[in-house]
């Protein structure tokens, strides 16, 4: 297992987990979202190839209501 930081909180995930697998585990596969790892955007086309490393800082974001 490795520990990543997911949206600000520590999370244990299995070694060599891909972004796609992480999203599946979180039940987010079908959602419209964007993923950033260590402040670098991971394009949707790379979700299945991009694997996570110990201490990776993962941000998963979506659109919500907002004005100014």
């Amino acid at each position: 297992m490795i520990t990543i930081v997911l949206n600000g909180s520590d999370k244990q995930v299995k070694n060599n987990i891909s972004v796609s697998q992480l999203l599946e585990e979180l039940d987010l596969s079908e959602k419209r979202l964007a993923v950033e790892i260590n402040q670098q955007i991971v394009p949707r086309s790379s979700f299945s190839d991009h694997t996570l490393n110990e201490k990776d800082n993962v941000e998963i974001v979506q659109a919500i209501g907002g004005g100014q």
């Binding site: 997911l6 949206n7 600000g8 909180s9 979180l26 039940d27 987010l28 959602k31 419209r32 979202l33 964007a34 950033e36 402040q39 955007i41 394009p43 949707r44 941000e59 998963i60 974001v61 979506q62 659109a63 919500i64 209501g65 907002g66 004005g67 100014q68």
Partner: protein, 264 residues
């Protein structure tokens, strides 16, 4: 016909819009109220915020993007809540990824939590980075004509001076500065923030603004859907009054019935 300025539709980054009212999607009671208010407003450009996805909580909660049909609305991701250049640029890049290469964004870099006034220095830096990166940047700024012109020079597609602090509902606090910004501009000028009620919107449009972005004035009204409709009309009325050209103000009366032909 008298010399009336042409009533061209609003054009931003090469796309034309019939509505000059841009609406935010924050602070509504629920998605249904959001949808009804958007419909009543007639708005075609809708702002959204980018935030962390809830992990594990309410997985079936309807996503905002699912209730905003992209064929009907132009989405305008905004950098609300960003206090640094880096956060604002990151937010825009995430929005572009989220929305499949979408280039139109609203930049705001705030400088102070109490007033939510924009930090002009950081805003200029972030605008330059985003323009260089290919974004079409609509930019929130204070009502300073010099900063507004500089943001235009950098390549922003629209400049959006505040009327008053965000969420304050104080109306147009500095109409002469807004007027100067409009007179100097070669890109659309939209008032962003501070409008409280329909008359505020009409005043901004009578000054010659190209449009208005608002959120709280609608969402925090007692009846948001009715206020959305009122704002639509105020903006249309204010625009027509601007095009029509108001009568000059005079200190004393001037009768509108002829004196000739009186029998008394």
């Amino acid at each position: 016909m008298p010399d009336t300025p042409p009533n061209k539709p609003l054009e931003i980054a090469g796309k034309t819009y019939n509505s000059r009212l841009l609406v935010g999607t924050g602070k509504y009671k629920d998605n249904e109220e959001t949808q009804l208010a958007l419909e009543a407003s007639g708005a075609e450009i809708i702002t959204i915020a980018i935030r962390r996805t809830n992990i594990g909580q309410n997985p079936d909660e309807p996503n905002l993007l699912d209730i905003l049909p992209s064929d009907r609305y132009t989405l305008l991701p905004n950098t609300a809540g960003c206090y640094t250049v880096d956060d604002a640029v990151r937010t825009c890049r995430l929005a572009r990824e989220l929305l499949d290469g979408h280039k139109l964004v609203k930049l705001e870099v705030l400088g102070d939590e109490k007033t939510l006034f924009p930090d002009a220095i950081q805003t200029l830096k972030a605008a330059q980075i985003l323009v260089d990166d290919g974004f079409d940047v609509m930019v929130y700024t204070n009502d300073d004509p010099l900063i507004a012109k500089e943001l235009e020079r950098i390549g922003c597609v629209a400049v959006m001076p505040l009327a008053a602090p965000i969420g304050s509902g104080l109306g147009i606090r500095n109409p002469y500065n807004i007027l100067t910004i409009i007179e100097n501009a070669e890109v659309p000028i939209l008032v962003d923030a501070g409008v409280g009620t329909a008359s505020d919107a009409a005043i901004a449009m009578e000054l010659g603004c190209d449009g208005i972005l608002m959120n709280t004035a609608i969402a925090a009204a007692q009846n948001p859907v009715l206020m959305a409709s009122a704002m639509k009309k105020a903006i249309e009325g204010g625009r027509e009054a601007y095009l029509a050209g108001r009568m000059p103000k005079k200190r004393f009366a001037s009768a509108s019935s002829p004196i000739e032909g009186t029998f008394f």
